[in-house]
């Protein structure tokens, strides 16, 4: 297990408050966690517990009001580079074709940015290979709004991964999809992760999704969010839909659910 590997992301007693004075609201309190390189973690908790806040802190999109966030041992002061993000909404640009949408990170992130014009054909081939690996081969020329919700979300994952980021941030990326599509994308996600071994942070409220995909699940309390439970998932990979019906899997889900119910009591 990745426990022995040095941690890539470290949060030490991180807290975050929005607003100031009387309207000050503590969203996250005393979060301490460390993510090893290549680890897949999931953060679950009741809605409004600051899960998304945690994600923004790790990527440096929000500065913490207390404690510190370190990536590669360096304190994070602004948006860190080499991060891929996917959200509940696919956030694709309707004026770009699917292919051009996925090329976007390569136009922005160094060193690809510098090489982009001269090596465009190579990058286009890379995107097409990536599209094929998520089951979207040949759809590059379509516009996002010509694709179904599931296909748009696959494209969004491609965009998050195309520049081979070290860290992938997933903020309920399957939340808006129907159950069948969602479960299918779990396996797509797992396949991509097993091939590339990026470090992934998945924020979700779907416990089965968390157990299916993650090495470690962090359970957060109600607002202000605190980490109340850390659960290692040692089920063998690749996990399949069959796995989700096995006793070990179901037991873990129950265990997590009980912990979250305590928050609602």
């Amino acid at each position: 297990m990745p426990v022995t590997e040095p941690s890539l992301v470290e949060l030490r007693q991180v807290s975050l408050a929005y607003g100031s004075g009387a309207s000050r609201m503590l969203a996250l309190e005393d979060a301490t966690l460390s993510i090893a390189k290549g680890e897949f973690i999931a953060v679950v908790g009741p809605s409004g517990c600051g899960k998304s806040t945690l994600m923004k802190l790790v990527t440096g999109l929000l500065p913490p009001t207390g404690g510190e966030v370190r990536v590669h041992g360096q304190v994070v002061k602004g948006p860190i580079r080499g991060v891929g993000m996917a959200f509940q909404a696919p956030t694709l640009m309707p004026w770009r074709s699917t292919l051009d949408n996925i090329l976007l990170p390569l136009e922005v992130v160094e060193p690809h940015k510098r090489r982009f014009r001269a090596h465009k054909a190579e990058y286009v081939a890379r995107v097409e290979a990536l599209l094929a690996s998520v089951g979207l081969g040949g759809f590059g020329a379509k516009y996002p709004w010509q694709l179904s919700g599931g296909m748009q979300q696959r494209s969004s994952l491609c965009r998050a991964l195309v520049h081979e980021p070290e860290i992938l941030m997933l903020d309920e990326p399957f939340g808006a999809l129907d159950a069948f599509t969602r479960e299918e994308l779990w396996s797509v996600m797992q396949k991509l992760w097993m091939e590339r071994r990026f470090t992934a942070v998945l924020v979700t409220h779907d416990l089965r999704e968390a157990v299916y995909l993650a090495d470690t699940v962090y359970v957060m309390s109600r607002r202000p969010g605190k980490i109340v439970k850390i659960r290692k998932i040692e089920l063998p990979r690749p996990r399949t839909l069959e796995t989700t019906f096995q006793v070990e899997f179901v037991d873990i889900v129950h265990e997590l659910r009980e912990r979250i119910h305590m928050e609602h009591a």
Partner: protein
């Protein structure tokens, strides 16, 4: 009614409505015996338009030019100002109240001032067309920029994109449909501006022609001028709508999918 008939009727409707309105006007003039000096019959107006087409055309072209130049200036200036206001909260909070105040001033009030500054001729008409039509462009472009989804911004920022890259790769394309939508409004406003200026004080353009015809109690020519303005207005509106469809096909998605 079959599908073809429905589609034909849809195309014919604007013409039918217009004919109906003119017919009503014609009948009302005859029934109530309206003197020509108050409101000439539409047939009389169209007759005048055909008889005096050369004069009308000459004055129309003058107005058309001033309108187009003023409108072009408004696009350039409106786009730049809109981008600045939409991209920077400081520019926004600084300039927005000023813009609102400026827009609230009746433009007819500034024409005499313009005359003092630049004299009569084409220039005051160009300037009036410009100042009256840039406001909707600025507001729309700024709105397009300001409503970028926060997630889109997060995606760009986490990729390490600069503010400039966010503006050019997300902001500008996203503001385009807003820009083109505003052009349709702005072009008709530009017409109002140039005709206004010609009517308040000028020696050229269709507004001037109408004013002098009115002074001679030549109601048919005045109304013929009115009709000409309406025709030019529709033509430029249609042109803007066409450009809009061409440039931002993605904003009219249903049509290409179908």
């Amino acid at each position: 009614m079959s599908e073809t008939q429905k589609r034909l009727l849809l195309v014919a409707m604007p013409w039918l409505a217009m004919t109906g309105l003119l017919l009503l006007w014609e009948v009302a003039c005859i029934v109530f015996d309206v003197p020509e000096i108050l409101a000439p019959r539409p047939t009389r107006i169209i007759e005048t338009m055909i008889q005096r087409w050369d004069i009308l055309l000459r004055f129309c072209l003058e107005t058309l030019w001033t309108t187009i130049i003023g409108f072009a200036l408004a696009i350039g200036f409106g786009l730049l100002l809109g981008l600045a206001i939409g991209a920077s909260p400081f520019v926004y909070s600084g300039l927005y109240p000023l813009l609102i105040a400026f827009n609230a001033i009746p433009k007819v009030a500034i024409v005499p001032i313009l005359m003092i500054w630049v004299g009569v001729g084409a220039l005051p008409a160009v300037i009036t067309a410009f100042v009256i039509s840039f406001f909707p462009i600025v507001v729309n472009v700024a709105t397009g920029l300001a409503t970028i989804e926060p997630e889109m911004r997060d995606v760009m920022r986490s990729l390490g994109a600069s503010q400039w890259e966010i503006l050019t790769k997300v902001g500008v394309p996203r503001a385009m449909p807003y820009l083109f939508a505003s052009l349709k409004v702005a072009v008709t406003l530009a017409f109002i501006g140039s005709v206004l200026s010609e009517t308040v004080g000028g020696n050229r353009g269709i507004g001037f022609l109408m004013l002098s015809a009115g002074a001679r109690n030549d109601a048919p020519t005045t109304f013929a001028g009115l009709f000409s303005i309406a025709i030019m207005g529709i033509a430029l509106y249609a042109l803007c709508a066409l450009v809009e469809r061409r440039m931002t096909r993605w904003a009219f998605r249903a049509e290409i999918v179908g």
